[in-house]
Amino acid sequence: MQGYENILQELNRILKPFVPLGQAINEDTDMVADLGLDSLKVMKIIESVEDSFDISIPLNVLPDVRTVKDFALQIQKINGNQ
């Protein structure tokens, strides 16, 4: 099972191509309000995360994901379960 910091680092790497150039990303970044991600981009990010961590993310958890930290914690939890 991967540690939280490693997950966060990998998540930042995945998010980078989807956000405007120069846009800072940290744990508290709101994925929709701050990064302006639409639903198509969110689904592409999820697919990248799934492949990177070899997990399958259920749609049910998405309403609870608002910030980058929320997402990293969900990945950690799913990583442990799967």
């Binding site: 198509l40 399958s56 749609l59 799967q82």
Partner: protein, 399 residues
């Protein structure tokens, strides 16, 4: 915050569309001339966006059956299937559907939407998993939401991605229901069903196929993609609708699992809905007979489908991946989509305009659907209208 404040974003989007294309929200079929023609904005218009694949909505036999049932049994059942709403016609239609699909059992629902809602919300529950194709219809997503199960998507028409997810979820040691469609409603492409069946068999999952758009369209006997792909025995549940090839309204599920009948008693969308009216059941039963016997309708449908698909390709429109009765023209910008759609309407042709986020890839779609009921003259007029608007607009060429 007022109760309607959450609709502000929707209101803004609606206003933007209305400013660019006012008629988008004002389409009324003022007079129905036939299954393929209606008066819209005071003008006779060819309907090239309905799902009347076999053109049976105006079949005289279906109409007569509906009228006779209304006269004999009334306009509605005024009750649930679980109470006073099961008439002999409902039972007969279930028997006939089971025979047609060569399955042990069938359940009839009041709409196709309810069929998916009822089956998905009942078959799986908390602790179990649904794996659905990303491009599945909203009724499937809504059924999943109601189920309380864990819902996972796999990439559209990608059996490798499905396998990858089944492998990742294998350790969970729980029931997994895979859900796909026979023919996808937006792009008109088939599911790679034989490959999907092979994967789900390998991992011991169940499979539900929604044949809403493929019933009467695919398969030597019109039973849909599972028949065409030769995998009917491996499909656990087939869901479908009466509102497309059968020209009425309603839905069904057929299965060889003897426990299917138990779903009735556990399914809230089945129990707490009034059953289909006698006229609807009667016309559907007649249409099902015609689907079986009038094979020339399917042949004519495919002639029209191939002709329109070919024509769109010749006009350099970007269309779906394979010919089908659903011919979807993909357009990048809303302005072009509005211009083309309005132009077609002015030329007396109605097609569906579908805007993101309702489209699979974020593009706009002019979704055409053809019918066996379209005459050669109507098909020619549809093609002429597309030619005319193609010349009038600067839509980027397909590559």
């Amino acid at each position: 915050m007022a109760i309607f404040d959450k609709f502000q974003q929707l209101a803004a989007a609606r206003k933007e569309i209305a400013q660019n294309c006012n008629s988008f929200f004002n389409i009324v079929m003022e007079e129905i001339i036939s299954g393929t023609e209606a008066v819209v904005n005071g003008r006779p218009t060819i309907l090239a966006g309905s799902n009347n694949y076999l053109g049976l909505s105006f079949d005289s036999g279906c109409i007569e059956a509906a009228c006779e049932a209304a006269r004999k049994e009334g306009t509605g059942t005024t009750g649930s299937r679980m109470a006073n709403g099961t008439f002999s016609g409902h039972v007969a239609l279930e028997r006939e559907l089971a025979e047609f699909f060569k399955r042990q059992g069938a359940i009839v629902f009041s709409t196709g939407y309810i069929a998916n809602l009822a089956m998905l919300s009942t078959l799986v529950g908390p602790g179990e998993i649904i794996l659905l194709d990303a491009d599945c219809h909203a009724s499937i997503y809504d059924g999943c939401r109601l189920a309380g199960a864990e819902v996972h998507r796999f990439r559209h028409n990608d059996p490798q991605d499905l396998e990858k997810r089944l492998r990742r979820l294998e350790k969970r040691n729980t029931n997994i229901l895979v859900v796909v469609e026979g023919l996808y409603s937006m792009m008109g492409d088939r599911a790679p069903l034989a490959d999907i069946v092979a994967v789900k068999e390998k991992y011991g999952a169940y499979l539900l196929v929604d044949e809403a758009h493929s019933l009467g369209v695919l398969g030597a006997n019109g039973r849909g993609l599972a028949e065409e792909a030769g995998v009917e025995d491996e499909v656990d549940f087939v869901v479908g609708t009466f509102s497309k090839s059968l020209g009425a309204i309603g839905g069904f599920c057929v299965s060889n699992h003897p426990e299917l009948n138990l779903v009735r008693y556990a399914s809230r969308p089945y129990v707490f809905t009034a059953s289909s009216s006698p006229s609807v059941i009667a016309s559907t039963r007649k249409a099902l007979q015609l689907l079986k016997t009038r094979t020339e309708l399917r042949q004519r449908l495919w002639e029209n489908a191939n002709m329109l698909y070919q024509k769109m390709q010749n006009l350099n429109f970007l269309v779906g991946p394979e010919p089908s009765p659903i011919v979807a023209v993909r357009l990048k910008g809303k302005a072009e989509a509005f211009a083309l759609w309005s132009g077609l309407l002015e030329h007396g042709v109605y097609v569906n305009l579908v805007l993101p986020p309702a489209t699979p890839d974020g593009n706009c779609l002019l979704r055409c659907s053809v019918s066996a009921g379209h005459t050669p003259e109507q098909m020619e007029r549809i093609c002429q209208a597309f030619t005319a608007v193609r010349e009038l607009t600067a839509v980027p060429q397909a590559v």
